[in-house]
Amino acid sequence: MEDFEVMRNLTFGQYLPVESPIHRLDPRSKLLSTGFLLVALIVSRELAALLLAFFILLGLAALARVPVGYLLKPLHAAWPFILLIVLLQLATFPGLPEAGCDTLWQWWILHITTCSVRIAALTLGRIIVLLLLINLLALSTSLNEVIHGTEHLLRPLGRIGLPANELALVLAIALRFVPLLGRETERIMKAQAARGADFGRGRWGFVQRVKRLLPLLIPLFITSLERAEDLAVAMESRCYGGSKGRSHWVQLQANSADYCALFLAVIVSAILVISPW
């Protein structure tokens, strides 16, 4: 029966319910800070700034009382892929001598230039800092907090016509439905197997996988769409009216710690974006 277990692999996000200053921060400030840093990291071209961000994030992780093991787990899983990307960049990125890139080593079609070293180092730094940042957010913020925070943040956009409450509701519905889908998939797999379909683990080669996918996906999509229709009817019969004039059960309070965190995030983002040291 383990062949049909889908629910086991369904935990996503890694919220760690620990008491820490970071955990206690308003989710809005955490989301905004992460957003600023994310944008800054994408744009940043300075290795020194990336290093600074790296150490600051490590400090924040310590502040969040997150065990180092949890933080390093994704890195432990990802390091071969990161290595592959960086090595490929080192060896295959073109660096024209006219652009000021001196070739350091050449062999067949592979060549390492100063430009490719720079790109590889930047990418490595960016990937690692991004990993730290997103994992820190995931470890310190529960999904409920994320949904409430997102909804609060989107609210001002409601004034320019964006359906803020609706968007947050879509997110909430999506997250609520994922475990339901797990149970539904298990049921469908067992039902199809009882009808003689060839499910169960093992032999999930390409052709087998495609053959098994259709009798699984179509019932899944159809029942989900039917559920969505029922949900819509249920919402309407409870007079759901969208964002207009809607009051909220959960009120988020920001305090000085949140503004400090936001300020710090803005400063670091500015350094990442602007600096040529």
């Binding site: 889908v6 692999n9 369904l10 996503f12 890694q14 994310l38 994408i42 994704p74 899983a77 990802a78 892929f81 990161i82 592959l84 990307i85 490929l88 960049q89 295959t92 990125f93 990418t123 960016r126 990937i127 990993l131 940042l133 997103i134 994992n135 995931a138 964006l162 359906p163 609706e166 968007l167 509701l169 879509v170 519905i173 999506a174 997250l175 439905f177 994922v178 889908l181 998939t185 999930w204 390409f206 996988r209 495609v210 996918l213 259709l214 699984l216 996906l217 179509i218 899944l220 999509f221 159809i222 989900s224 769409l225 559920r227 969505a228 229709e229 949900l231 819509a232 919402m235 969208g242």
Partner: protein, 184 residues
């Protein structure tokens, strides 16, 4: 921009399927050399065809954001470190809905089935081309490598998307008409 309750519910549920396929790895059909065929963009295509470009874009955004978060929290694929970059994982996915809907709307007067097939193909190609394009633009992989992966994967991804989209939508529309009774 108003969203009907039905649009909210369908957007939520299809986003859930996309997240679910990603988290359980059911959405990855392993192919050669570590690259796999993915079907997580199909809910985006379905949402766009059934409910329009807004719903498609929303599902695409949620799909993209979750692939970003998955890539950082539980990386399992070669491209995952690059997917932490929202320009690679989120931005391309915002366009799948619009393109799919536009193609569907344009071809629909000619033939419904053809419209479904072309829309699914267009949506899949949008996903593939834009994601690989951003990977190249952001210099994560050399264009030659991406080109090879794209050429080998794309036909199968398009085929899978067309088959699944047509199967689901024809079954769904039949159910819808069945429930409503006579289609006057």
């Amino acid at each position: 921009m108003k969203m009907s309750t039905r649009q909210i519910a369908i957007a939520g549920v299809l986003s859930a399927i996309s997240i679910f396929l990603g988290v359980t790895r059911l959405g990855f059909i392993p192919f050669f050399a570590g690259a796999s065929i993915t079907i997580m963009h199909i809910p985006v295509i379905l949402g766009a065809i059934l409910e329009g470009p807004l719903v498609g874009t929303i599902i695409g955004a949620i799909f993209g954001i979750f692939s970003l978060v998955q890539a950082a929290i539980a990386p399992t694929g070669v491209v995952d470190p690059a997917f932490q970059d929202p320009l690679v994982s989120v931005l391309p996915r915002l366009f799948i809905g619009v393109v799919t809907w536009a193609v569907y709307r344009a071809v629909r007067p000619v033939n419904e089935l053809l419209a479904l097939a072309l829309a699914a193909a267009a949506g899949t190609l949008t996903n593939t081309v834009l994601v690989l394009g951003m990977l190249a633009l952001r210099q994560y992989y050399a264009p030659a490598i991406l080109w090879t992966v794209g050429i080998t994967n794309a036909p199968f991804e398009v085929a899978a998307a067309i088959i699944i989209s047509i199967a689901v939508i024809t079954a769904w529309k039949r159910i819808e008409f069945g429930r409503k009774g006579a289609d006057l």
